[in-house]
Symmetry: C2
Subunit: 317 residues, 2 copies
């Protein structure tokens, strides 16, 4: 028995997660999902990254739009607009059912872990999805315009304000979810994979949970990551913009990401476009592996997933 702990945010991470889910049996992997973006809107508990993972693994995601559900309709939202209600957060009619269901189960006293598990199962997902935590932990973006809750920054203000820092409200009191703790403690654990998600907004929230970053740095199995940066750019979202605003020594690059994770990483997969950064990354004591990381097809997702497992084996041996 081998087991992998996979840490992921939304869209970019979900692509690798999908690749991993197609090559690993359901019992061999725990997908730990960022919940720092979770928020309450119109009375609903919305978990954007969990939903993205759920829809992606269930094959219900809208590939063209890049978020939300396929075959979505928007009549709820358009009616809300006639009421002059806030409609900056795009709530599709089908998507809304998930939020209503989640909110109703949470109100009955179920944990987010339990709810996530129930929804995943009902949508036909056999693999194990878990929120990083059942605690309330909110990503707050410190910008030149003041502190903004993540969704305000990301959706309402379309990631335009200049980012100075990122904080995680409630992280001191947060605890890892039972699913993450169990995977970490499992004697079968073979490696930890950090998906190509935004390091600052999607991965740091889970790393901010007391003890987790330390556990990863001390753990005996390999911890690897796939760089979300290709040729100085991010595929999607504000990662590159944020990295440029943060005055990092190595700018927006895979090297900067390696620096950011250097205390926990044993291995790092970067794109062939960034092969020139290999030596600098290796100098941080990280094993570098170069390959194709732009996941434009299911085949590439599966290949990158295989690449992750191979790198773990290589480091372990």
């Amino acid at each position: 028995m081998t087991h992998y702990l996979v840490i992921t945010g939304g869209v970019g991470g979900a692509k690798l997660a999908l690749g991993l889910s197609t090559i690993l049996p359901a019992s061999d992997v725990t997908f730990a999902v960022n919940t720092g973006d979770d928020f309450s809107h119109l009375g609903f508990h919305i978990s954007p990254d969990i939903d993205t993972l759920t829809y992606t693994l269930a094959g219900l995601n809208d590939i063209d739009r890049g978020w939300g559900r396929r075959e979505e309709s928007w009549n709820f939202l358009s009616t809300l607009r006639t009421l002059d209600e806030e409609t900056w957060f795009q709530l599709g009619d089908r998507d809304l059912a998930i939020h209503v269901y989640r909110t109703s189960l949470l109100a009955q006293g179920k944990t987010l872990s339990e709810v996530t598990n129930v929804i995943a199962k009902k949508l036909g997902i056999n693999h194990f999805l878990t929120p990083m935590t059942d605690s309330s932990l909110g990503t707050v973006v410190v910008t030149s315009d003041g502190k903004l809750p993540f969704q305000d920054y990301f959706v309402k203000y379309q990631a335009k304000p200049v980012v100075e820092a990122v904080e995680f409200f409630g992280s001191e009191l947060a605890r890892l979810s039972p699913g993450v703790s169990k995977a970490l403690a499992s004697p079968d654990l073979r490696g930890v994979i950090i998906c190509p998600s935004n390091p600052y907004l999607s991965i740091d929230p889970i790393l901010s949970i007391p003890g987790f970053r330390c556990s990863l740095s001390e753990i005996t199995v390999p911890v690897i990551a796939v760089s979300p940066i290709i040729g100085g750019k991010a595929i999607k979202g504000p990662t590159a913009k944020i990295m440029n605003e943060m005055n990092l020594k190595a700018g927006c690059s895979s090297l900067s990401v390696a620096h950011h994770y250097r205390d926990i990483l044993d291995g790092f997969i970067i794109d062939t476009l960034d092969a020139g950064q290999s030596d600098d990354i290796a100098a941080l004591g990280i094993e570098v592996s170069v390959g194709e990381t732009l996941m434009t097809s299911l085949q590439i997702k599966q290949d990158l997933a295989q690449h992750c497992l191979a790198l773990i084996e290589q480091i372990q041996s």
Copy 2:
């Protein structure tokens, strides 16, 4: 200045309300709507009769289906079904936006009166719609299968259980809404019109509010009603079935309805089909007027509305 207080339930009453709204200026009428059917579902506060009145007066109702909104879609509900969640109550995607908005305003501390008013205005209704009460008052149907909250009886069990009695939970503590109280106390009040709604399930709830039935029996302006029964049948809904189950002396007939309202009614409009009951109803001290009451067109709705005003004038003179 003249003013009319119109008491109504859902579909049948909404037809006459629409007729009245097209012949009376906005300032001349108060539509007091039954809230005994209100319930909480999936965390939403749903007010079925207020919604029916609102959609009807706003021209947004689905005429063919007879309830809900036109151009409705059902993707929220079909998704909920994939989650094995309760879907016995039909929630359209557009309709849902109203429930979410109402629930969100109520959670902010607004009263149902305020919320009803806000929604009506946003949907372009100039006439004044008010819930009968801002208090919690729930219609409970006592059946041979036990006591059932109204929506369980009506939707979940499709009005199949045999009705023995109807109770109004919370009515002892309920108070009329400010809108109804104001209309009742207005020196301009010219008459009270009880719409052709179910007397037991849609009108009795408001009559159960302490003091209201007594006010109507003592008020100096005419109180009239339009019979919901035509030729021993009801147009829609379980009215006839319930009346047959209740072992009324006059069975399911306009005469039975007149008996039910006899302490408060000055005038009663019955269908030409029921003209034969005129003498028995008149014997109760009620002025009877015969006309067309099957509201199959806007013209007939308007004619019946005119008929109501004429009967009030006739009684007053």
